[in-house]
């Protein structure tokens, strides 16, 4: 405990650590401003609906006053259409989300019926059957759980990884459509919980790992491990040497956890303070085998991605410790760790599909892809699961730490 306090004190007084923390939280705040400005609100949708209604009214007014069958039919059509839009507008304005979602489901149903009959999962049209089916299921889930949807809820706002082609004429990709869908399916929400998901989707990957490595570079690499450095202060006190290494490792992990919790509270605080908290039940799509799927509540999703990312951090920290002992140089250890992680991720992509692929730890460093089973769906290998990720990352970390300890022992013998 005394060692942990000392390690923590060293970390907290480090200038680099403080600067990086400030940059980190400032980045979250800037991202929140971006999300806040790009959040589609009820007022935006209402404005759009009113605009549409007004346009239809104008169209009706421009119709000649002839009472032939065609004109009457057109007028009737626009009248009914506007009635629907007005009902939709009212539902939005009164927060009647059940009606809003039901209207969207009703719109989906005819397309879905056609696609289901043909079982065209491999269709090259946008949206695919899988996307349409999951979109309807998403809305039904929200209806059942009383969840407020993130706006907009239109056809372009929901895409899945099976939407690979976006042809209008049935042949090649239509770049405009592709860009349009890509842009509109990137939903932004400044509601606390949803914004937290946006932050974690960005953070829980390579960029987050590299950030945390840099954050803790002082505690691990500046000690002069294996050479004449501050570590000698610890080694000439009545402390067992494995405890010195363990204390550093535990400090890295505990502080990482504290920073993650801090970032989560900060994101939630910003969202709740400037917008609203959101729904812990908000559905997150989880891919299954043979186009199966299920929804996971966003609260559980956040917890699982955080735990898996934490194991990724454990693995990255173990790599950094290992290279610190091997190279005995601060910058070299840091660069080597980052390089190995980058190469490892490349390697895990190269070996995808092979029998041992799910046992490569680098495949689990992007935790949102694992928890939503996107990695499994992309490689069509459903052995890439959350529990296996924990096991592989935990096991690899233990092996690396043991190797670091062995290397330090060998170095002492050779010294």
């Amino acid at each position: 405990m005394r060692l942990l306090q000392f390690e923590w004190k060293k970390l907290w007084t480090s200038g680099l650590f403080k600067i990086l923390l400030v940059v980190f939280f400032l980045s979250i705040a800037c991202y929140f401003v971006y999300a806040y400005m790009n959040t589609v609100r009820v007022s935006d949708v209402a404005l759009e609906l009113r605009d549409q209604i007004r346009q239809h009214e104008l169209q009706m007014e421009e119709q000649p006053d002839e009472e032939d069958g065609e004109s009457t039919e057109a007028a009737q059509f626009w009248k009914e259409y506007n009635e629907k839009l007005e009902a939709q507008l009212q539902a939005y304005e009164t927060g009647d989300w059940n009606t809003v979602l039901q209207m969207e489901i009703d719109k989906i149903q005819p397309d879905l019926d056609t696609l289901i009959v043909s079982r065209q999962y491999y269709t090259s049209s946008f949206p695919t059957l899988f996307t349409t089916e999951t979109r309807r299921a998403l809305f039904q889930y929200m209806q059942e759980h009383g969840v407020t949807p993130t706006l907009p809820v239109d056809i372009y706002a929901w895409r899945t990884l099976y939407d690979l082609n976006f042809p209008i004429d049935g042949s090649n990709d239509d770049e405009f459509l592709k860009d349009f869908v890509t842009e509109h399916s990137t939903l932004n929400s400044s509601a606390g919980i949803y914004f937290l998901k946006q932050v974690t989707d960005l953070l829980f990957g390579l960029s987050g790992l590299l950030f945390f490595l840099l954050l803790f570079s002082d505690i691990v690499t500046k000690e002069g491990i294996g050479v004449n450095g501050p570590i000698h202060l610890l080694e000439t006190q009545p402390i067992r040497r494995p405890l010195i290494l363990l204390a550093k490792f535990v400090t890295v992990l505990l502080t990482s956890a504290a920073v993650l919790v801090g970032a989560a509270l900060f994101s939630l605080g910003l969202g709740t303070g400037f917008d609203k908290l959101g729904d812990w039940d908000y559905p997150v799509l989880v891919y299954g085998e043979n186009y199966a799927y299920e929804f996971m509540p966003i609260g559980l999703y956040l917890a699982k991605t955080a735990v898996l990312f934490f194991f990724g951090l454990l693995f990255a920290a173990a790599l950094l410790f290992f290279f610190s002992y091997v190279t005995k140089r601060a910058i070299a250890a840091l660069v080597l760790t980052a390089a190995v992680i980058l190469l490892g991720i490349q390697l895990s992509n190269q070996v995808a599909g092979l029998a041992f692929a799910p046992y490569v730890p680098f495949a689990y460093l992007a935790s949102p892809y694992i928890v939503t089973m996107q990695t499994a769906a992309i490689w069509q290998d459903f052995r890439f699961t959350f529990p296996l990720g924990l096991l592989v990352l935990g096991g690899a970390s233990a092996v690396l730490l043991a190797a670091a300890y062995l290397v330090s022992g060998l170095q002492r013998k050779r010294a």
């Binding site: 005394r2 060692l3 306090q5 000392f6 004190k9 060293k10 007084t13 480090s14 200038g15 002069g224 004449n228 450095g229 501050p230 000698h232 202060l233 080694e235 000439t236 006190q237 009545p238 402390i239 067992r240 002492r412 013998k413 010294a415």
Partner: protein, 294 residues
Amino acid sequence: MIIQVENLHKHYKKQHVLRGINMTVSEPQIIALVGPNGSGKTTLLNCMTNLLPFQEGKIELLGKKNTDISVFKDVSYLQDNRILYGDLTGYDHLKFVCSIQQLPATRIRQVTDRVGMTAYVKKRVRNYSLGMKQHLLLAMAILNEPKLLLLDEPLNGLDPSSAITMRNILLELHGEGTTIFISSHNLDEIDRLTDTIYFMKDGELLKESLQDFSRSEYTITVDAPDQAAAVLTQTSLPYTANEDGQIEFLETEAPLQDLLDQLKAAGLTILRIDNRKIGAERRYQELFAKENVR
């Protein structure tokens, strides 16, 4: 036994750095370790404190193997200032040592007052001068009132008044029963601290007690230098004639009286006798003259 080193050998790859070091210290005293750069002084201290492994030999401090971490309850090692953390204050360092050694926090004030660093103990170490860092290292080393204090170049970077403070503290500690093993290049300070010196040369240890020597060298001026030289040539007395015609005589090998008797018997008049004490520096020059001392 306070220090027991037996047949210690240490290799760095093909380089044989320590060649069969033997050392025994059984009573509290101040022992100096002197030798040129690269002679193996820091390596010996690092081996003694288990910071470095060695290939052959045995080391015991205060009757315990040096690999026993409980040794550091009663043994302190003042090392190079690179062990300090620049972002932490002196107080942080002292507090950590206090907590690890399970000492009351009141010890910190006692020690900082003694070392004279109370005024700046709460400043960050990165803002310390070299001398201030040495003070902090000393304060950390004496917090636990060690029975054995090992010091590697503690006088480096100290201004004269700091060096005097350091020397006085070491002498006080010695007076309180602490054994002090100090490696230093500052031979004047070593002279003021102790008569017991281990000279290190090419990884070997040569223990000398300057008390064992007649500590005087004489320069004798006579009225007829040429005649004096002629008289002394016929004796076996060790003398040299310097450029000014004076006779230089080291009393360790024969009594001064013998030389004076010879000169008087030859009818020479002795005009002046100058006495110079032999110190660590002189002995160092003798031992390392040809290779290192210019």
